[in-house]
């Protein structure tokens, strides 16, 4: 039976402020879900709640059981590493629970495979502080995959990457899903990337789920106007993928509220 992530009336409160309210969804594994929405919509908060990093009300179940943070590959938004650890050491820490005084050959070869999978084997001996933000993001993503999670939650994990690496990483994630049958939920701002790479999207606005399904069904000109406050032109590419061309903001929005992390 395919594993499912089930959210039932999920509320997340920060003090007395309701950040997420009544989110319900049922998502089958084996696909990539794009979590989209404007700044302050509650994407990070929802991902943190699913990962068990934030207390929430309602039910969050993975394969019928409460989510165990140890079984999830979660990459939060702000996770830069300043410690003087090498890239290989950081990848190995993905399995810190299994490491002993001597690192086994299996673990080392798994780490080497992941480094090659991400095309960063040449960085293995480099110290984390010497890497760019984008390179760090690649390393930390690779570290999460080292855990071979069935549920991978990524909070804007491609935001610091250039367009080539963004496409490369999203392709790698698709390969990972094809190989392992995992569920990947990725918070993403670039709607065109979401349209191209995500099997379906969840649109959050003001802490509520306002749309869930295929990209074309969820993102419409009206939605872009009401949720994002922009006018946009929709073009269909030669391969049949929708492309959004933003034209102008419909109104000047107030400063979006900060999401608690």
């Amino acid at each position: 039976m395919t594993a499912r992530l089930v959210l039932r009336d999920v509320d997340v409160l920060h003090g007395r402020t309701r950040i997420i309210s009544g989110v319900s969804a049922s998502i089958a594994a084996g696909q990539m879900i794009g979590l989209i929405g404007p700044n302050g919509a509650g994407k990070s908060t929802l991902l943190n709640a699913i990962a068990g990093q934030l207390p929430s009300k309602g039910k969050i179940l993975w394969s019928g059981n409460p989510v165990d943070p140890r079984d999830v590959g979660f990459m939060p938004q702000q996770c830069q590493v300043r410690a003087d650890l090498s890239v290989l050491e950081v990848i190995l820490l993905g399995r810190h629970e299994q490491l002993g005084w001597r690192i086994g050959d299996d673990t080392l070869s798994a780490a080497t495979r992941i480094l090659h999978f991400f095309g960063i084997a040449d960085l293995a001996a480099r110290g984390m502080p010497t890497l760019s933000g984008g390179q760090q993001q690649l390393v930390l993503l690779a570290q999460r995959l080292m855990r071979q999670p069935q549920l991978l939650l990524l909070d804007e994990s491609t935001s610091a990457l250039d367009i080539r690496h963004q496409m490369h990483v999203l392709k790698l994630l698709k390969d990972y899903i094809a190989r392992t049958g995992a569920l990947v939920v990725i918070a993403i701002h670039d709607l065109n990337l979401a349209a191209r790479h995500c099997d379906s999207v969840m649109l959050l606005n003001g802490g509520a789920l306002v749309g869930h399904g295929a990209f074309e069904a969820v993102i419409t000109p009206d939605i872009l106007r009401s949720v994002y406050g922009i006018e946009a032109e929709f073009i269909t590419s030669r391969s049949g993928i929708p492309v959004i061309l933003p034209l102008s903001p419909t109104s000047v929005e107030t400063v979006p509220r900060e999401e608690p992390r």
Binding site: R70, F74, M75, V81, D84, L85, E89, L93, L99
Partner: protein, 329 residues
């Protein structure tokens, strides 16, 4: 690591050969081979009853402070943290001062009452900070703030006792606070060794968790690490190691601050290597200070606490200069 062990071994030999009465290396060698019951009673007594406990105690105290310092800097994510940041040494000082002033009321010898009080008071300080962390969350900020509160509390109490003490008692209190290996005996060595050895399995088990913590709280938590739990457990270990280190020999500053930096500079952040090296470095610094103290003033040995405090400042500058280029974290 091997180089550091060799360096420590040489310093230990040098420490055994120096002292107010002097002793050539050949006598030390024969004295060591002859054992505590050797024919040359003077050599046996000086070596086995005076110098050997001081040297072994110096190694143990330095190692405890080095280990405690590195763990403290890791759990607080603060390169300036040391066992003294959270007020443990101030508490030990207050406990010792209390015992020196009122110890005569307890029908036990001073060499038991003073370290016992210092040890107990260190654990009280640990308990206070721990209680604050339980109530408000074991974040680095809460631990540091709680520690600073405890530090000032015990320093104030220590000052009060010093104010109330007679000149003779005050002198004893001040001497204790200097931190000196001259107070060492085989009893203090045994107690410190037992506590340090009892902590070792817990430290060994948490090496990877501590290394993971260096990725930052958000990363560590997202990798399934119970950040608050590891912080609380490590905090208890640090308290025990610090209590064991300072209760018998008094306050010794800078070792717990510098040894971790030296270890990290040499072997990086992997705690499998940096923890043992911090322990060895701590021992090297303390034994080095002991040798230096005896070398510059053979007749009246200068307490190691004073040497480490004076030498610690340029050493800290050197470490900052070395690490500064890479960014101190």
């Amino acid at each position: 690591m091997i180089g550091a062990l060799v360096c420590l071994g040489l310093l230990m030999v040098l420490d055994l050969t120096t002292g107010p009465s002097g002793m050539p290396l050949s006598d030390v060698w024969h004295g060591l081979l002859a054992g505590p019951q050797g024919d040359d009673r003077m050599v046996a007594t000086i070596l086995w009853q005076l110098r050997m406990p001081q040297t072994v105690m110096g190694v143990l105290v330095g190692a405890c402070l080095g280990l405690a310092g590195l763990q403290m800097q890791t759990i607080l994510g603060n390169p300036l943290a040391s066992p003294f940041t959270l007020g443990f040494s101030a508490a030990a000082g207050f406990g010792a001062a209390l015992a020196i002033m009122f110890g005569s009321l307890i029908p036990l010898p001073a060499f038991i009452v003073i370290p016992a009080c210092a040890f107990a008071m260190t654990l009280v300080a640990c308990g206070l900070v721990y209680a604050i962390a339980r109530l408000r969350g074991a974040t680095p900020e809460i631990l540091v703030l709680g520690g600073i509160a405890v530090l000032f509390f015990f320093q104030s109490l220590q000052s009060l006792l010093q104010f109330l003490a007679s000149p003779e008692v005050l002198q004893q209190i001040v001497f204790w606070l200097f931190g000196s290996l001259l107070k060492s005996s085989w009893t203090s060595v045994s107690v410190t060794a037992v506590i340090a050895c009892a902590c070792l399995p817990f430290i060994a088990r948490s090496t990877w968790a501590l290394t993971t913590l260096r990725l930052g709280d958000a990363n560590a938590r997202s990798l399934g690490l119970s950040v608050e739990a590891i912080r609380r457990h490590t905090f208890l270990i640090v308290a025990l190691l610090t209590a064991a280190a300072v209760s018998f020999v008094g306050t010794i500053g800078f070792v717990g601050l510098i040894a971790p930096h030296v270890a990290r500079t040499l072997v990086g952040e992997d705690h499998r290597f940096s923890l043992p090296l911090a322990a060895i470095t701590g021992a090297i610094i303390l034994i080095g200070a002991s040798v230096f103290g005896k070398f510059i003033s053979p007749a009246a040995v200068i307490p190691v606490g004073i040497i480490t405090a004076v030498a610690g400042v340029p050493m800290l500058f050197a470490v900052i200069a070395k690490r500064g280029q890479r960014g101190m974290s």
